[in-house]
Amino acid sequence: MMEIIIQYLLPSFVLFAFGIVILFWSFITSNNRIFSLFSIASGIISFILLLLNYGANYKYFDIFTFDTAGTILSLLFVFLMVIISIATYRFNFSHSEIFYSILLFSTGSMVLAVFSNNLISIFVTFEASSIATYILAAYPKSRKSLEASMKFFVIGALSSAMIIFGISFYYISTNSFSLGLTSNSSTYILSLIFLLVGFGFKLSLFPFHSWAIDTYNGARSPVSALLSTSSKLMAFAIMIRIFLFTFDISFSNYVQIFFIIISILTMTYGNVTALVQKDVKRMLAYSSVANAGYLSLIFTLTGENALSLALAAILVFSIAYILMKGGSFITMENLEEKGTTLNDIAGLGKKRPLLAFSFTVLLFSLAGIPPTLGFMGKYFLFLSLIEGGLWWLAIIAVLNSAISVYYYFRVVMYLYWKESNVEVEKNRHIDYAVFSLAILTLAVGIVIPIIFNSLYNLWGGLP
């Protein structure tokens, strides 16, 4: 028993260990590159360890289920972490060891969170990652980032209180913290609502999204990359386990209607408001809200075929989402000093061809232009909507993505045929990081239809 569970916990423990090592190493040197190399190394190690566990489906009591979907997601988290560490190789701030160690801690706890299958473990891991990300958002303690982190923290604390309430109601109605239990009492529904509020904050669904925009905008770009992708997908995985595998059993149409409203509002709000953003980073923040809307479409589905298709599709969407959103934010990192408005990125195609090209590919992917991965993600997601009979919802979704094309391609316009005299300093590492993401976006996009079959029923803990 013990040695098996160790094998599954090891990837995240490696991250924790390295985080501590980095903290101690900072007594020896304060060289940012060493820490970055440390985190890259740890990332690679835990990546390999995760790959070894790939395909397993192992339940540790009702606390963790180590299923393949979770493995895929955590592989993505670790991969993004490595990319971030590569991109921030040239960081020159004081106490960058804090940044890296906390990056490792948060990623590790996220890795645990996507596996956890019990409200206690979910709560603990979720809160651990949230607390870590509060600190990350504050880094490097500039006024903007502090304000971002403050807002993040206040709303986060509020919603963690909501989560505890939700858990308490769940506990009251089922006398247990383990998922998958049903009840017909009204406290059960209360717990559903409170949990929805609590986790919807992390996923930045419509009424609970406001913090996200300011935080992604104010925080340092790699941090925004982490927040808008990894932690969001972690919350998403948790919500799948809670809502699809638990509440859907007895109150499916209730969940469905909630999420139809939420997803429509979220998509539309994000896309429409992004239209008028002059600041690219803020625009990306809004678009990530919109993407949360796409993600939450899965909860509107009922029916065996539709759900199994959607659960596979959501993995494709998550891969696409991590690659393109993370890449876009990391691109922003390069402009952080000069400012990230449209005028600042103008003419990037001439100054930094490689970066501009990669960013363009990522934007195409965000806009859902085939054959990029972003298109495939949306494609399979909407396919599952049609399968579930919600074709009108699918139409709303595709119209939303059609709107989004406007602001993505306006950025491309500024990249390539607008001029500005803003000087952008050269940073090879960011180029490589973003370029690798862009290439992956294209390559995986082409192979996805072939490997899509293998993405079916990878979620453990299905009722």
């Binding site: 409200l119 206690i120 603990v124 607390i131 006024r143 971002a148 807002k151 509020l158 505890i164 858990i167």
Partner: protein
Amino acid sequence: MIPLIYVLTVSLMMFTVGLYGILTVKGGIRLLISIEILVNSANLNIVAWAVNIADSSGIMFVLLSIAIAAAEAAIGFAIFVALYRQTKGIGLKSLMDLRW
């Protein structure tokens, strides 16, 4: 043995108080306090039920959540201190550079 309903009522009161605090207070520290009240009302909920059905896992959860709340409070306090260093003051209304 206090009847369950009393406890729950108290927790409900605490909940409303905390909520009211979060929505109204001007300063950051008071915000932290009201969040603590909120969290603890929930904890109280769980504890009461755990005692009611004599289940240890509830107690365990509450212990964890108290610890986490403490950590959270610490972080929040740190953030507000750092903010105070930057801008002499932690009035919540004064921090609105990032908007629209």
